[in-house]
């Protein structure tokens, strides 16, 4: 292997490097100075995010186990940006004294899961895919249980690790059948041998169930709400954005490549699942009072919308999916960022606590409103564009009734996205959350989100760029 081969893996390698630096730093810094790791990691990660944009060659490594292309780089960059925002947003939270002794672990675990995701996205065979998936999941369970002294956090941890183990077992069973029926674990070799016989269908469904778990599609979503609610907010936002985003990426890629011979079948599967997901996600979101749980169900419903793009199975569909995920990163992180900011200062997470919030904290409220509008798909923020293209993708295949159901669901979703807006702007409160000044990092994080939400929509160049890189199944 030449040096240039390593350059193909630069993102993974750099992340590993960071992981090592963090480990070393933890050992090197005295307990009182552990918090320095925070800024250090931030800067390092910032550097990596920037480095991600350096053009890289296309290539295949390890006999096909590792693929690198502009598309995967794009996906990784999106994830990097998301993680960077998460890091920025968790700045003030992680610096709290009660977290002081586990700062390094926090970053290390997130970075290692990110490594997992990167490998997963770049994987060229089921083994790497599986490994990446596990690497992206197992440490997150620990992160969910990060607040060890909170029952809910512990509960979130156990629910996540056990359900993910179940799902990965099912997924593995599916993979084993695929291996058995095709004789290879390499994607490239599997493709020509895939057809829609019952065994492979069964294998696909089991595989799909495992993936659906990660993306939190109904009926494989039940863990999500509880875990999202119990985990510390920044972990929740990481889970709902980065984890889900990465899973969506690889899911799309695998469907479009490996399972392209049975596209007709998986389109039907997705048809049903997307309707279920949107509807159930929405119906549950309607009633939520806890903001995190609320956003959890909202992100379940969003996953249903994402399927509309995947179902297209063409270049257009993939473009829409990636574009939407990019927008979703900003929107969801914006919303979570505000929830986190409020929670960090006041510890309040219930919707009724937000009553009258605009009158005391107008800026945060506006960010929240924009984020929610973006999630709901209301112009002029980017969510509108994202949703529109997703709907267009499904329509592209002639699934007009699906689009119809989806837009009706979008309308329902608008209802609950307006609930926090109503709380903040319309409802009056005797004891509103008092004015507070969030720290610079929080504001920076939110600023990036807002900028992202505004720019990504109108800047069609981004869309066109993604389209150039996307491919159809």
């Amino acid at each position: 292997m030449a040096l240039s081969d390593f350059l193909l893996m630069r993102n993974e390698l750099l992340l590993t490097l960071i992981a090592i630096i963090i480990v070393v730093a933890e050992l090197a810094f005295s307990p009182q100075k552990q918090h320095k790791i925070v800024s250090m990691t931030l800067w390092l990660f910032f550097a990596i995010t920037i480095a991600g944009f350096i053009p890289a060659a296309k290539g295949v490594l390890f006999g096909g186990m590792f693929h690198n292309s502009e598309l995967t780089i794009l996906m990784k960059n999106i994830l990097n940006i998301a993680v960077l925002i998460v890091f920025i947003q968790s700045y003030s939270w992680i610096k709290k004294p009660e977290n002081n002794y586990k700062i390094a672990e926090y970053f290390l675990l997130i970075v290692s899961t990110l490594i997992g995701m990167n490998f997963m996205i770049s994987s060229g065979d089921f083994l790497m895919f599986y490994l990446g998936l596990e690497l992206a999941t197992i440490p997150v369970a620990a992160l969910a249980a990060y607040d060890r002294y909170k029952n809910k956090s512990a509960e979130a941890g156990v629910k996540l690790i056990l359900s993910s183990a179940l799902s990965s077992a099912i997924l593995l069973y599916g993979i084993s059948m695929i291996y058995g029926s095709t004789g290879s674990i390499y994607f490239a070799e599997v493709v020509p041998r895939i057809s829609s016989n019952p065994l492979q269908t069964l294998a696909f469904i089991f595989f799909f169930a495992g993936m659906a778990f990660k993306i939190s599609l109904v009926p494989f979503h039940l863990w999500a709400a509880d875990v999202y609610e119990g985990a510390p907010i920044n972990i929740t936002s990481y889970l709902s954005v980065v984890s889900k985003g990465a899973a969506v990426f690889i899911f799309t890629i695998i469907l479009f490549t490996v399972f392209s011979p049975v596209m007709a079948m998986w389109k039907d599967v997705l048809y049903i699942i997307s309707i279920l997901t949107m509807t159930v996600g929405n119906l549950f979101a309607l009633r939520q009072q806890n903001m995190k749980r609320f956003l959890a169900f909202s992100s379940i419903a969003q996953a249903g919308f994402i399927l509309l793009g995947i179902i297209d199975g063409s270049q257009f569909g993939m473009t829409s999916v990636i574009y939407f995920v990019l927008i979703y990163v900003f929107s969801n992180l914006g919303a979570f960022g505000v929830v986190a900011a409020i929670s960090n200062v006041t510890g309040k997470e219930t919707m009724s606590d937000y009553n009258g919030f605009y009158r005391t904290n107008p800026k945060l409220s506006l960010v929240m409103m924009l984020s929610l509008f973006s999630l709901a798909g209301i112009p002029p923020v980017a969510g509108f564009f994202g949703k529109f293209f997703l709907f267009a993708s499904a329509a592209h295949q002639g699934y007009y009734w699906l689009v119809f159901i989806a837009v009706l669901n979008a309308t329902i979703s608008l209802y609950y996205y307006l609930m926090p807006v109503k709380a903040m702007f319309i409802n009056k409160s005797d004891s509103p959350i008092v004015f507070f000044r969030s720290d610079g990092m929080t504001r920076l994080g939110l600023l990036i989100c807002v900028a992202g939400m505004v720019v990504v929509g109108f800047a069609s160049a981004i869309y066109e760029y993604i389209r150039m890189l996307s491919f159809g199944g």
Partner: protein
């Protein structure tokens, strides 16, 4: 630069200036100046347009400009106007101008109020100048959503409920619309060309009838919800009742017109054959709307409800006339949109002003206002007379054009329905006179009312602007009618293809 861009640019700049304004009292001045510019600009546009037409330009759209936006999907920022959109822009600028003055005294969160209001108008302006389905849809949603906050924050009564209902129903409508738009887009290549969102290009394409029939209901009902199509009008009474003055004005005056405009500019123009085949269903619905809305208004006790039902009736007439699909009726429909827009804005402005004094909107609790606040009362009477279609006001022009046009239809069904619809002029008279009788005339019911002051200067500006609009069109309708019907010929041509 294309003058049309200014219609978006000015509101945006106004919004920015408002946000940057240091003191609250500057806010409304800035808003007034901005929207004043908009009004002047609209006048300029009308003259420009007429000059262009006089110069012999017979293009379907003039002042066009196209910028590629999402090239791979052929989404463009395409703008352009014909006589109809020019007229609608004129309407919008009048109403928003009056609206600013009608909300001069908003004291709670003033900045936010004006920003939302102007954002709404931006959406409306954008909608009317767009030639691209995508941007049109975008502006449409921009116009609808500030409504939620405007009603929710500054409204009265069960405002949260109404705001939510209105938003959800309108967004439900736009959900249908979205399906329609996507359908049109993906079949815009039926003749082998590229997929396109551009209305003018789609209009050249022949979309298969089966497809048209599938998407026409989506599109038409989608816009119809906003145009208060029976039975999807119920957001309107609640929404209007709870909305603050300027919002009711803009909503009933302008936003509901988006529905009518969209119905023919998109649903009927782009799907003409389906429009022909399916019109009868909607004709029955709209005719029901007209009569039903009017009857509904008779027994209401709340001023805003009366006006809301009256809007249902009048907007039903708009859609009804559009569905008649001949030049005269459609011409009437457009005039009716403008006429009703100004008229109902006037009503809502006055209701707001009266409410601001009496703090009630129940007509039973008021009486004899003519003696106390003669200026407003007279304006109300004028509005009422315009509403019941008195000659000399715009309502008459519109209604008569519609009736005559609709009656020219060769089909007996259409003529019979027209006669049914005509009966609304009597019912309208009943509820208008009932209100005037109870509210303004008769003895003074409540002695506390004696202390009221008549209209302030800004209220006068607001109402006089609107009345000028009503009577202007009412007395000299020919130029407007010609401007509109000139542009209609392209549409009629396609509809009768």
């Amino acid at each position: 630069m294309n003058v049309l861009n200014l219609f978006i640019l000015i509101p945006v700049l106004t919004m920015i200036s408002i946000i940057l304004a240091k003191e609250i009292r500057y806010v409304r001045v800035i808003a007034a100046i901005g929207m004043g510019c908009q009004l002047v600009l609209a006048a300029v546009l009308i003259f420009t347009y007429l000059a262009i037409r006089r110069a012999g330009n017979t293009d379907e759209m003039v002042l066009t400009q196209t910028l590629n936006w999402f090239p791979s999907l052929n989404i463009t920022y395409a703008i352009g106007v014909d006589g109809i959109s020019v007229a609608m822009i004129g309407l919008t600028s009048i109403v928003i101008f009056a609206g600013i003055f009608a909300s001069w005294e908003v004291s709670d969160l003033t900045k936010e109020f004006f920003v939302s209001l102007i954002l709404l108008s931006t959406g409306v302006f954008g909608f009317f100048i767009s030639l691209d389905l995508f941007t049109m849809f975008l502006f449409y949603e921009v116009a609808v959503i500030p409504m939620y906050l405007l009603i929710g924050i500054w409204g009265s009564g069960p405002k949260e409920y109404s705001a939510m209902k209105l938003t959800i129903m309108l967004m439900g409508g736009s959900a249908l619309l979205l399906v329609g738009i996507l359908g049109i887009y993906f079949y815009s290549a039926s003749d082998g060309g590229p997929l396109t969102f551009n209305i003018l290009q789609i209009a050249k394409v022949h979309i298969p009838l089966v497809v048209q029939k599938f998407f026409f209901p989506f599109t038409f009902i989608g816009f119809g919800v906003l145009g208060a199509l029976f039975p999807l009008h119920t957001w309107s009474p609640d929404g209007h009742a709870s909305a603050p003055t300027a919002v009711s004005m803009l909503h009933a005056g302008v936003l509901m017109k988006l529905g009518g405009y969209g119905c023919f500019r998109i649903a009927m123009f782009l799907l003409p054959e389906a429009a022909h085949e399916m019109a009868w269903i909607f004709i029955i619905l709209t005719a029901t709307s007209v009569v039903y809305g009017a009857f509904g208004a008779i027994m209401q006790k709340d001023l805003k409800y009366i006006n809301a039902y009256s809007s249902v009736s009048h907007c039903g007439l708009v859609l009804f006339a559009l569905l008649m699909m001949n030049k005269t009726a459609m011409d009437g429909a457009i005039i009716q949109m403008i006429s009703h827009g100004i008229m109902t804005a006037l009503f809502f402005a006055l209701i707001g002003m009266i409410y601001g004094r009496t703090h009630t909107r129940y007509i039973d609790e008021m009486g004899g206002l003519m003696k106390i606040i003669p200026f407003l009362a007279v304006c109300y009477v004028i509005g009422g007379l315009a509403s019941l279609g008195l000659p000399g006001f715009s309502g008459f022009v519109a209604e008569m054009t519609i009736f005559v046009g609709a009656f020219q239809h060769a089909d007996t069904f259409h003529r019979i329905v027209t006669i049914v619809v005509c009966s609304s002029i009597v019912i309208t008279a009943v509820y208008i006179l009932r209100v005037i009788g109870i509210l303004l005339l008769g003895p003074i019911k409540n002695n506390n009312f004696l202390s009221f002051k008549d209209a302030t200067w800004f209220e006068k500006i607001s109402t006089v602007t609107l009345i000028a609009g009503i009577t202007g069109i009412g007395l000299a309708p020919l130029w407007l009618s010609n401007m509109i019907s000139g542009s209609l010929s392209h549409i009629i041509e396609r509809l009768t293809m």
